[in-house]
Structure formats: C-alpha cells, structure tokens
C-alpha cells in the first residue's frame, strides 16, 4: 500500500469510528468514604451510617475516568452514569458528570439493594439504553461483594472481562488486560460487553471546580425500580455483623528455642 493510500485508509478509519455511536454505561455506587473508620452498630445488625461521610466507590471512579478518557480519545461518543439507591446518590452522579459523564440516571429507592437487584436494574437500563460497553468497578468497598458486573454480564448474555488493568475498544471488539494471580492475561471479546475495573487501570482525575459547577446543568433522570418492573427485594438476610477481632498484645521470647516451641504448641503454625 502506497503512503497516499495508507493515509486515506487512516482517515477513513478515523472517520468511521467517529461516526459510529459508542455509548458507555458506568454504574456508580455511593459508599462510605474510604477514609472513614466504620463502626458496627451495637446490635450487630449492620454498620452505623448516621452522619458518616459518603463518596463514590473508588473503583467506580476509575470506571468513570476510563469511560471519559475513551470519550476524550474519540472512541466513545457518550458516557452515561447510573446510580441505584437513595436520593443522595444524585451527588455521586453529579460527581461522575463533573469528571465528564454526559448525563446521569438515578434509580431511586430507599430499599436495601443487593448485587442481584442492582444487576437486574442495570439490565433493564441496558435494554433501554443499548450501551456498547458497561464499565463498572470490580467491587464496592462497602460490602466487597464483587458480583454485580458478573451478574449483569450473565443476565445480558454478554461477554465479560473482570479486573481490567487496560482497555482498548476497536472494530466491534474489546481488548482487555486483566490482573490475575501471578501475571496478566489479555482477552479479546465482542461488543457489547461488561468490563470491571481494577485499581491500576488509571489514576482518576480531580473533577475541576468549574466542571462541578457545569455538571449542575447536565441532564439527570430519575426512575423507580417499579418503572423498570424490577423487584429489588433482598434475597439474602444479614444475620450478624461484627468488628474484626482486636489484636492481642505480643510477647517477647527469650530465645529461638522458646520461639519455635511457641510457634509449635501455642500458635500451632509449624
């Protein structure tokens, strides 16, 4: 191929991915801020959330950042942020829009939402919005469930790549590098698909203050689970939540023999 032809082809491919609509849906969860030292309620029924600072789940922030970078690179054409939960999740959506999402959808409910319920709500929104990719955090730092992305992929019948540390979208395919035990794995899958983000995918930016002001003007739609005909009733019951065991004081051993003896007979690790 001559250089002129190559140039033409390059132009074509550039134009072609401009013209194809590529929508990314990013679910964002409002969780207890990672700096907060959480306290278990006295009755062991859960974690005390009264007057606790909440913010966007850090893995979701990485997801929003990735989606926005894909848009800035001209790969994606629209980024839609979705949050499921109480009215205050609007703030989480505004944060996503301040980072660069184009609009937000709140599925508003005061009910306790478990991963399956969220996955069903997201499925209903995917059916409606027809995104090309859903990028979600690999897990939320509150319940650490690590289920929603996988469940959504299953419900949609879409391929999935979890724990992504690199994402590239081109020609109807996603190439995703995953962090696995002892190394990296690179997958290629057809779109539409679900990707979940790991910590090293990117370093999210600070939403700039002017963009936070502008996010106020971006569209935010609110729906209820019933509007999507989804039953969000919990399928699991929490029986008990307890604080991690307190570390007990250490002992100073006299010599190696005593150490070995204690490791053998008290700690029972050797």
């Amino acid at each position: 191929m001559g250089s002129q032809a190559r140039l033409e082809k390059h132009k074509e491919s550039k134009n072609s991915h401009r013209s194809i609509a590529l929508k990314i849906l990013v679910p964002v969860k409002r969780v207890v801020d990672y700096n907060v030292k959480v306290r278990v309620k006295a009755d062991g029924s859960g974690v005390d959330l009264a007057n606790v600072k909440m913010s966007m789940n850090p893995f979701d922030e990485i997801a929003v950042e990735e989606a926005v970078r894909l848009k800035e690179a001209g790969v994606a054409t629209e980024v839609v942020a979705v949050s499921c939960g109480v009215a205050q999740c609007q703030e989480t959506l505004r944060t996503a829009m301040a980072i660069g999402a184009d609009r937000g959808i709140l599925v508003e409910t005061d009910a306790e939402l478990q991963p399956l319920a969220v996955a069903k709500l997201l499925k209903a929104l995917c059916d409606k919005e027809q995104p090309t990719v859903v990028i979600c955090g690999k897990q939320a730092i509150d319940d650490d469930a690590n289920q929603t992305g996988q469940m959504l992929a299953a419900l949609m019948g879409w391929p999935q790549a979890t724990f992504a540390s690199k994402v590239a979208l081109a020609d109807g395919k996603a190439t995703v590098t995953r962090e696995i035990d002892g190394g990296l794995e690179t997958l290629e899958m057809n779109l539409p698909a679900v990707v979940t983000t790991d910590l090293r995918l990117n370093e999210p930016r600070y939403a700039t203050l002017p963009n936070i002001m502008k996010a106020k003007k971006k569209p935010l739609e609110t729906v209820k689970p019933a509007d999507l005909s989804i039953d969000v009733a919990p399928r699991l019951a929490t029986i008990k939540v307890s604080e991690p065991a307190k570390r007990s004081a250490g002992v100073i051993v006299a010599d190696v023999a005593q150490l070995v003896e204690k490791l053998k007979n008290e700690a029972k690790v050797i």
Binding site: N35, Q90, T95, Y206, A207, L209, P210, M213
Partner: protein
C-alpha cells in the same frame, strides 16, 4: 446563601480531598524550601482555586460569600501558605476590580485572574502608613492620558509573583484623608515599578511579601478603578470587608486542623499509664478550643449570609475577624501545649501552624483596629 446544596457538597468534597491528598503531604516541603512546587501550583490552577469568587460571567465560579467561607474552612485544613497564593485573586487582589471596576477593566483582567495566569496583589500599606491607612503618601498625578505614581508599598502579599497590583494612591494632595485616594491597576513590568527583596517572615513560608516601589511609574488613565478619582479608599474598604470575613474563615479552618491534630495526639500519647486525653486538664484545653471554634464558625457563617443578603456587614466582618483570629491564636497555643515538647519541634508541624496563624491577628486590620471599627460603628448607631 447556598445556591445549590448538591453542587456545593460535591465542590467541598473535591476541595477536601485535594487538601488531604495533595496539599497536606507537601506542607513540610513547602515550609523547608519556602516555595510551593511549580507542579502543585499548576494543579491548584487546574482545579480552579484561583477563580472561586470571581463572577461566572468572567469565567469564575461566582461563589456566594457563604459558599466561599465553607470552601475556605476546608482549605484551612492545610498549611495557610497554600491559600495565600490564590486568596489574593479571589480576595484583596481581585475584588477591587470585581466591586468597582469598569466593564472594560473586568473583561480585561478577571478572566486571567480566574485561571491563575496572573496573580493579583493589593497594595495599601506603606512604611509610614499601616493601621492609619488613610494617611498613605503614595501619589498619583494626572498627566494627559496617564497617571504618574510615586511612593513605596510595604508587606505586599504575592508581590513577587504578581502580574497586577491594585494600588491605592493619593490623587488629590489637598485632601489628607480618605477622599483624596484613588485605586489603580498597575501591571507588572510597567516602567518605574520595582520590587524589594522578599521579606524574611516568622511564618507562612512558601508565601511571599515584599516592598513595591513606584518611581515615576506611568499608568494609563484607563486603569483608574471605576474611572473615578477619590473613591479608591472606599473601594479598598469594601474589599477589606469581604477580606475580613475570609480571614475569619481561614482562622476557623486552621484552628479545626490544629484541634484535630491535638486531639489525635492526645488520644495516642500515653503518660502515667493512660492516654493524656483522659486527663481532665487536657480535656479542658480540648473543650475550650472546641467551643470557641464553634462560636467563631457560627459568626463567620452568619456574617457571610448577611453579606449575601446585601446588608452592610462592617461590624459583623470586624467582629468575626477579631474573634476568629484571636480564637485561632488560643487554639494554636493550646495545641502546642497538648503536644508537650513535641509541640516545640518542627517535625510535628504544630509549631509551624503556631507561627503561621500569628499573622491572622495582624493583617487586614489588627485586632485593635477591629475593636476601633466595631466601637465606632456602635457609637455612630447610638448617636444616629
């Protein structure tokens, strides 16, 4: 006045996080080098900190006074030298133009103050005129289409970095007081403008002041703020009313930080077999600090709300500035006391705050000047 609570929450969260993740970790370095690293300055500009209170039509965020003080509380959780760098653009170095500038002056300068492309300074104080600001001697003589300035300004915050100076100078030598004073925008690089060496200060390392010297410095008449002579002192006082609420707010923010540090230390440090926080004499220091801090915070928010309502807040601004800065000094002193010997060592950072906050009782009107303002307003109101 809070225009949109949700947006404000996101804004404050973002500032809090930036303070915690970017500013606090750099405090010691900035103090040691007496300089904020260029990359960090760039990040502060990128975040939008230089345009907080400049109106939206000029690219800023147009925060109301109430929104601005809430932001300042958060910003105060880091070393106050960081705030100094962008505070003049939002405050004394930019507000003269915002409040009394002509449309052309606003359009020309404000967008560049918003981005931090230029730093604004406020030059009122002189070697022989501090508290008695209206006695200033710098002159501005009209010659054709320009004014020729002569005089020296002292202790001017951000002068070494400034791109523009709001300069109060006497245009009418026959009037000795405030009426003879006008305010000018003078650009860096104007022939006849020079700077003294940076001052060696007790604290606020990383923020700089120096003399600003005018020797036959020719300034276009179009740079007379409001294009009217004789209103410059009033402009300066309006700027300072707002500035005083902001100094009160930063005093609250830094006091909160010091009290948090002192509380953490008191809960961790053990003597006589238990955390020192369990001793009632230490608790008294914590509790007194907390109560005073709460009072100051309420005063600041109240003054800010009243200013947003368009009321004259001369008295409230002075009350808040006086009480909050004095409170901050007391909290600093107690925080050092709670730290014990560690409070005297640089490593723990608390002595740095102790030195930094001493300034709050001095600039933008000393405590004594606030007392005079408050009492004068009271007596004037009584006499009708």
């Amino acid at each position: 006045m809070i225009r949109d609570q949700e947006t404000l929450n996101v804004l404050l969260d973002t500032i809090t996080r930036f303070v915690r993740e970017r500013l606090v970790p750099n405090e010691a370095l900035v103090a040691e080098k007496d300089r904020i690293p260029d990359e960090l300055v760039a990040e502060m500009k990128e975040l939008g900190l230089f345009g907080l209170s400049i109106p939206e039509e000029h690219g800023g965020m147009g925060l109301t006074m109430e929104e601005e003080v809430l932001a300042t509380f958060e910003i105060g959780h880091a070393s106050p030298c960081f705030r100094s760098l962008f505070a003049t653009n939002n405050g004394i170095g930019g507000q003269g133009i915002v409040i009394d500038g002509t449309a052309a002056q606003k359009a020309h300068y404000l967008p560049r103050l918003v981005t931090g492309e230029i730093i604004g300074s406020f030059a009122l104080t002189e070697p022989d005129s501090g508290s008695d600001a209206a006695s200033l001697r710098t002159t501005a003589v009209r010659e054709g289409d320009s004014y020729v300035l002569n005089g020296t300004k002292r202790y001017i915050t951000n002068a070494p970095e400034a791109g523009i100076f709001t300069v109060m100078a006497r245009t009418d030598p026959s009037r000795k007081g405030a009426d003879g004073i006008s305010a000018f925008i003078v650009e860096r690089g104007t022939p006849g403008l020079s700077l003294g060496a940076p001052d060696e200060k007790m604290g606020h390392k990383g923020s700089h002041t120096c003399d600003v010297i005018f020797e036959d410095c020719r300034v276009p008449a179009a740079n007379l703020i409001g294009e009217r002579e004789g209103i410059g002192f009033k402009t300066a006082m309006k700027v300072l009313d707002k500035g005083r609420i902001n100094i009160a707010a930063i005093s609250v923010g830094v006091a909160e930080r010091m009290l948090e540090d002192a509380l953490r230390y008191a809960c961790e440090r053990k003597q006589f077999g238990k955390p020192i926080a369990e001793f009632q004499l230490v608790q008294a220091m914590l509790a007194d600090s907390k109560a005073e801090l709460y009072a100051a915070r309420c005063m600041v928010i109240d003054a800010a709300r009243k200013r947003d309502e368009g009321r004259d807040v001369g008295t409230e601004a002075s009350c808040a500035k006086m009480f909050a800065s004095e409170m901050c000094g007391r909290v600093a002193d107690r925080a050092v006391q709670i730290f014990g010997g560690a409070g005297y060592l640089s490593e723990y950072g608390i002595e740095r705050f102790y030195r930094d906050v001493r300034l709050f009782r001095l600039f933008e009107g000393t405590t004594q000047i606030q007392q005079l303002v408050i009492a004068r307003n009271m007596i004037r109101a009584h006499n009708g």
